[in-house]
């Protein structure tokens, strides 16, 4: 992917992702080499303390790998992640643990994310015990505070319970409480509500928003459902096949979506209306491409109805700034080719 002017990364940004590549090696029966799964293939962005950023994309686009790398569960293959002044590629051992303790991780499956054989109290104590908070009183204090913040009260009743005794929404609150227990600076939430009921989703999303505001957290919020991001983030970027294909402030993206893929996502996320049953949605057919051998040129080109033959399927598109803070990775916005739009 062609380099372009990097946003001034280190001024005021809590998290800076610089040309990040995360490739997984495909082994062939022991020792052979069958290529790489290029899950993240050249991603850059910055995030300031107190801001929420949404990452939207379908399964297989690399968003989960991106998040796991940011958290420190994967190693970058190329490029750099700078978080609170620490460079991830140079962080090992105890420093890595400290790095991880500053990032809270909320997962998709609330029941799977909690060890079924531990009580809520034990679950919440674990991160603190591991990170050296030896005083039991101090730990209990933090637990009470955390549970109260996620509105799981009365605290004393919740503590001795096991995860299976709670509802899905309550379990997710425990997951959030656990993510907050070490007072992190960044919260990464990977599809935090997609396994919850519709009426509970909004409650949890509002809870996350409230925590973000009261703790001045930076939040990265991953989802495939565009309709939930509107109220909960300042910035949004759309990922496709390992790349960021559009980046903008929330209103900009919703009012002026540019990349054909973004347009398709918006078309597919229609609001409920009886009229929907009468019309066909204008969405591209097909599936996201393989990450081992992505298509030549623009990775979306096989499904794009605005594809410019000879251009989109040959050369990778440049990153174009179309308005303030709004970038898109598409030939259609290149002044030389914009005749097609």
């Amino acid at each position: 992917m062609p380099e372009t002017e990097k946003k001034s990364s280190l001024d005021g940004a809590l998290l800076s992702i610089q040309n990040l590549h995360v490739w997984y090696e495909l082994k062939r029966f022991g020792f052979g080499h069958a290529g790489f799964v290029k899950a993240v293939d050249g991603v850059s962005f910055d995030l300031k303390q107190g801001d929420a950023m949404a990452c939207v994309g379908e399964s297989g686009c690399g968003k989960s790998s991106l998040m796991k790398t940011i958290i420190g569960l994967n190693r970058p293959t190329k490029g750099e992640i700078v978080f609170d002044g620490m460079k991830l590629t140079e962080t090992e051992g105890n420093d890595l643990r400290e790095y991880r303790s500053k990032i809270g991780y909320v997962q998709q499956d609330p029941f799977g994310a909690l060890p079924p054989f531990m009580t809520i109290q034990q679950i919440l104590e674990e991160p603190m015990i591991i990170n050296g908070i030896k005083d039991k009183g101090q730990r209990m204090e933090r637990i009470r505070k955390s549970l109260t913040e996620v509105k799981l009260t009365p605290v004393e009743e919740v503590l001795p319970k096991y995860p299976h005794m709670l509802s899905g929404g309550q379990q997710q609150r425990v997951v959030i409480a656990r993510a907050m227990i070490l007072d992190p600076q960044l919260l990464v939430a990977d599809e935090p509500v997609s396994m919850l009921d519709a009426s509970v989703r909004v409650e949890i999303l509002k809870l996350l928003r409230g925590l973000q505001e009261s703790h001045n957290l930076a939040v990265i919020y991953i989802t495939h459902d565009l309709s939930t991001v509107r109220y909960f983030s300042e910035y949004i970027f759309v990922m496709y096949a390992g790349e960021i294909i559009e980046f903008a402030k929330m209103d900009q993206l919703l009012n002026n979506p540019q990349h054909p893929y973004t347009l398709a996502l918006m078309e597919a996320s229609a609001d409920p209306d009886a009229h929907n049953a009468q019309v066909m949605r204008d969405v591209p057919p097909g599936e996201p491409p393989s990450l081992v051998n992505p298509p030549k040129g623009c990775r979306f080109n096989p499904r794009c109805k605005h594809m410019i033959p000879g251009v989109c399927d040959v050369k990778p598109p440049p990153l174009i700034l179309t308005e303030d803070n709004h970038t898109v990775l598409c030939w259609l916005f290149d002044p030389q080719h914009s005749a097609e739009t």
């Binding site: 379908e58 399964s59 509802s167 899905g168 929404g169 009921d197 519709a198 009426s199 509970v200 989703r201 909004v202 409650e203 999303l205 509002k206 495939h224 459902d225 565009l226 309709s227 939930t228 509107r230 109220y231 919703l254 398709a264 996502l265 918006m266 078309e267 597919a268 996320s269 229609a270 609001d271 409920p272 209306d273 009886a274 929907n276 049953a277 066909m280 949605r281 969405v283 591209p284 057919p285 599936e287």
Partner: protein, 328 residues
């Protein structure tokens, strides 16, 4: 034998209760429900409201711990509840009513080829031989947009969207009167969901099949619904045509449900519903939504009747004339 008013399916007083360790779960509690021919109805409800049990009750796919299963289910005027197991299996299940179960893509047998699985119902219920059944399957694949050479592939070779289409083909291969779809798109990506819903719209137009779509996703439901039924705590609380429902739902629960949908294109912040649905083991007396309802009043301690308003039905005291508080 057709029924008098052209309804394909008429359900009266359907009950399905399960025996569990914690008590008797009244999953489907005296439900009345009608479906017209070549019509698509959506049953909307959250998890635990009994909607999946309703699908199983209609198709008689009962688990072992059933305690009560009664009521009347008229398919084209004939009460299929009266049929015994064998008659039901050979004449109704998958011949006239079929189902695409939840997570259908995981319900495909991993050791059989897809084509064999899709062809099997045709062989069993239509009496076709293998060759004829496979060509019927191939036809279905064309309908649902799966390339025909996939007939010879295995489930793991297909993506999620393709598997869902294959499951849909399997449910259509016997050209049934009714297909029940239980959360057909919940595990799929948003673009794939849209594609599948497009597919359903096309199939519905081309074949004369009726659909019952069961989902908790209101946005998806609006893609196919001609009429909407809302289920709460084992009961149906509202039935309405799609246009009026999405414009203005009647039941307080329906209204709250609509308000909780985050909207992409409108400037309305979504609201959530406080509290939780009641347990189906000991459902509360009176209106089951009462303790989460912001409009409740004393009459709600009594179970409300199903009230007809135009051609809509609502199970709520607020819509019964003369019952509300003065000043309401």
């Amino acid at each position: 034998m057709a029924s008098k008013n052209g309804n394909l399916l008429e359900i009266k007083d359907l009950r399905l209760y399960f025996k569990t360790r914690s008590g008797i779960v009244q999953a489907v509690d005296k439900v009345d429900f009608n479906l017209e021919r070549t019509h698509a109805t959506v049953i909307i409800g959250e998890s635990g409201c009994g909607k999946s049990s309703m699908a199983k009750a209609i198709l008689r796919l009962l688990p072992r711990n059933v305690q009560t299963y009664d009521g009347k289910v008229y398919l084209d005027g004939e009460d299929i509840m009266r049929l015994n197991e064998e008659e039901y299996r050979s004449s109704v299940r998958w011949k006239r009513i079929s189902m695409v179960p939840q997570a259908a893509m995981n319900a495909l047998n991993p050791v059989l080829r897809i084509g064999d699985q899709v062809a099997e119902p045709a062989m069993v219920h239509l009496g076709l031989n293998k060759k004829e059944a496979m060509s019927q399957a191939a036809q279905m694949f064309e309908h649902v947009g799966v390339p025909t050479d996939f007939l010879y592939r295995y489930a793991f070779e297909l993506s999620g969207g393709m598997r869902q289409r294959a499951a849909l083909a399997m449910s259509l291969v016997t050209l049934p009167d009714l297909v029940i779809l239980d959360e057909p798109t919940s595990a799929l990506d948003v673009l794939t969901q849209a594609n599948i819903m497009n597919l359903m719209k096309r199939v519905k137009g081309q074949m004369e099949t009726s659909f019952i779509l069961i989902t908790h996703d209101i946005a998806t439901s609006s893609e196919l619904a001609e009429s909407v039924a809302v289920m709460y705590a084992g009961q149906i609380v509202e039935v309405s045509d799609a246009y009026h429902f999405f414009k203005e739902p009647l039941h307080p629960y329906s209204r709250k449900l609509m308000a909780s949908v985050p909207r992409l294109h409108a400037e309305v912040e979504p609201e959530f519903i406080t509290g939780q649905p009641p347990s189906l083991v000991n459902p509360p007396q009176g209106c089951r939504f009462a303790d989460r309802c912001s409009e409740r009043f004393e009459k709600c301690d009594e179970e409300p009747p199903m009230v007809k308003i135009g051609n809509r039905n609502v199970k709520c005291w607020l819509h019964v004339d003369g019952v509300q508080n003065a000043g309401d």
